[in-house]
Point group: C2
Chain length 344, copies 2
DNA sequence: CTGAAAGCGCTTACAG
DNA sequence: CTGAAAGCGCTTACAG
């Protein structure tokens, strides 16, 4: 187990100074050609690679992006990570990932952990608990220490920073409108509890679409699901109302559950019941029938978030102390309605 | 944007030496109680946190685990990451994730990138291309530089290191046996191309199960799928043979596709056709009918892999140069057959 | 009880 | 053209 070779060792072996080695390896102009070649050959032979940690210390930047998300076993989030990772790598950045498990405490812990110099900036999506508590001190604290933060999807207005989102309300509106356009009259809503920002927004979109189409709003058509496990009972009860001819679900899990419940109850999808869902995940593609979805374009969100963060990191070097108005931006990713079998 | 405070600054402010500050913060015994309290209070007030990069340099370890996997938008892999992340965090480690996109070159690049001192050890699953090329020099090179490597799932015998796997062959055998036990006679196999190690092993298990049950092996019942996109045609052709009464798929995507094709062709699952698949992913749970699967227990694999790596990292400090026999271990995770609707 | 010094692995002004 | 020195932020023997 030969440990990694260092500049120091090369210097000793070759009987030159450390500076000379360093400069030779960086191909500095002021080192003699001969020396340079000698050093480079030696370094190559011993597979010398500069120690990244030392470089980070020296440069005061790590070329690493910290990602904090609620969970990773989740199609949307892994899609976002995928996007981030690819843009990061393209620009010479690495990504370290921390999971909050939708817990406020873990989110705080993770942020504190990474704000110790390990990363140059954050890309994050808030945990449910954080959204519920509305406590964002950990984020403003990180930012006040000069850590840029880019939030995506589950964001908050209480923090001024770059954000990448979709227009949840509008997309929901359009989805519901598309159901109405297809002649559906009584549209149920399967949504999350209110404190989940995106759930709330999607609910708003639903409500507005009904309103603008003069469809009476009926609270009994709305189910707010706290956790997925015991939701089928509630959905079953809901679907006992046979006049319901469409369901709008804020995520595909709710949608596929609804379809399964419908199947069991002898309700045909899409004939008797149209189903449309948020999140273009893998389930929608393989469900029977396949599910019409609003694509959140996680990959794209990740890419944009990474680009914004990296741009900020690279430009920071220039502006330095010039902390005038910060001009944060919020990028809204266009969603797409992907028509499949569950609507017609 | 006040930058992070350092020990040096604290020392200057408090008019003590850097060493005194450092020791006070680490609560060293040989600092006077008064000084200690003063320093600690000051540090707390300014949210002092030691710079992790500096610590890494000093300690020559980063407390970071590098993960290299083929892709992240994949239920199994994200499950493994989940397991790794949780054990890592428990032990004070972070994880950085690199994606090989199933490309050999990217895998090599990523390994080289991380072997520059950024991490203490690897947990990885081989890319398809690497398995095809059988070129593992990047791995042995990393190891020769003292980087412990733990491989999981897609491993190779050509590298001696710790491994976490399931018994793919046995699990496949048992799955096929379970089909036979249920009276299925003509069992088709949907598998990957041979160079994917796990695909190969599962194919072996299938073959053996047939053999031990005196069922004639029929090459025409086997489809080797290179990529998922155009496989339904092939599956459709296969299922024209109505005598086929069961399908064993090496992953759930193949299985769900088979079910969809069967549906279209008027073949009933499970009545006419039983379907069983490897990988207990999310699709199997929500497919109609739900799919009987062999659970690969990714979370567990990740946890075990992380434990092995961390154990090795922490013990290395002790043994040091004592490079006798390395005693690597291969842990075999028990799989589970999860019976659902697609078999009966 | 406190501090100067060396060192982790590197870079880069500055002398010479 | 080459090298000594300072420094990134920290720790830790070693003096005193």
């Amino acid at each position: 187990m030969k440990k990694k070779i260092t500049i120091k060792q090369i210097a000793r072996e070759l009987d030159v100074s450390i500076s000379t080695v360093s400069k030779s390896l960086r191909n500095s102009l002021d080192i003699g050609e001969e020396t340079k070649l000698k050093v480079q050959a030696f370094a190559k032979f011993y597979h010398y690679k500069p120690n990244n940690i030392a470089l980070s210390l020296k440069n005061r930047k790590t070329k690493t992006i910290g990602i904090i998300i609620p969970e990773i076993v989740h199609y949307f989030f892994s899609t976002v990570i995928n996007g981030i990772e690819h843009i990061a790598k393209e620009n010479g950045y690495s990504v370290v990932i921390c999971l909050s498990d939708d817990s406020f405490d873990k989110e705080v812990l993770n942020m504190e952990l990474l704000t110790n110099g390990s990363i140059d900036g954050f890309i994050m999506s808030l945990s449910k608990e954080t959204q519920q508590k509305k406590d964002f001190h950990h984020i403003s604290e990180a930012m006040s220490q000069g850590m840029p933060v880019v939030m995506f999807d589950r964001v908050t207005e209480d923090i001024l920073c770059d954000k990448v989102i979709i227009n949840d309300e509008l997309a929901a509106y359009e989805a519901v409108q598309s159901l109405i356009d297809k002649g559906r009259k009584k549209i149920a809503l399967l949504t999350t509890v209110d404190y989940v920002s995106v759930g709330k927004l999607r609910t708003n979109g639903y409500t507005k679409a009904l309103f603008h189409n003069n469809i009476p709003f009926d609270e009994n058509l709305i189910i707010k699901i706290e956790n997925i496990d015991n939701c089928s009972v509630k959905i079953e009860e809901l679907l006992e109302d046979k006049a319901i001819d469409a369901v709008f679900a804020v995520n595909e899990l709710f949608a596929v559950t609804a379809i399964k419940v419908a199947n069991k109850s002898g309700i045909k999808v899409p004939e008797d019941l149209a189903v449309i869902a948020f999140t273009d995940g893998i389930i929608s593609k393989y469900s029977t029938p396949t599910i019409t979805t609003i694509s959140q374009r996680g990959m794209e969100m990740g890419k944009v978030a990474a680009k914004i963060l990296i741009e900020r990191l690279e430009s920071e070097e220039v502006e330095l102390e010039e902390d005038e108005e910060e001009n944060y931006k919020t990028v809204v990713i266009e969603t797409r309605l992907i028509e499949r079998e569950s609507t017609n």
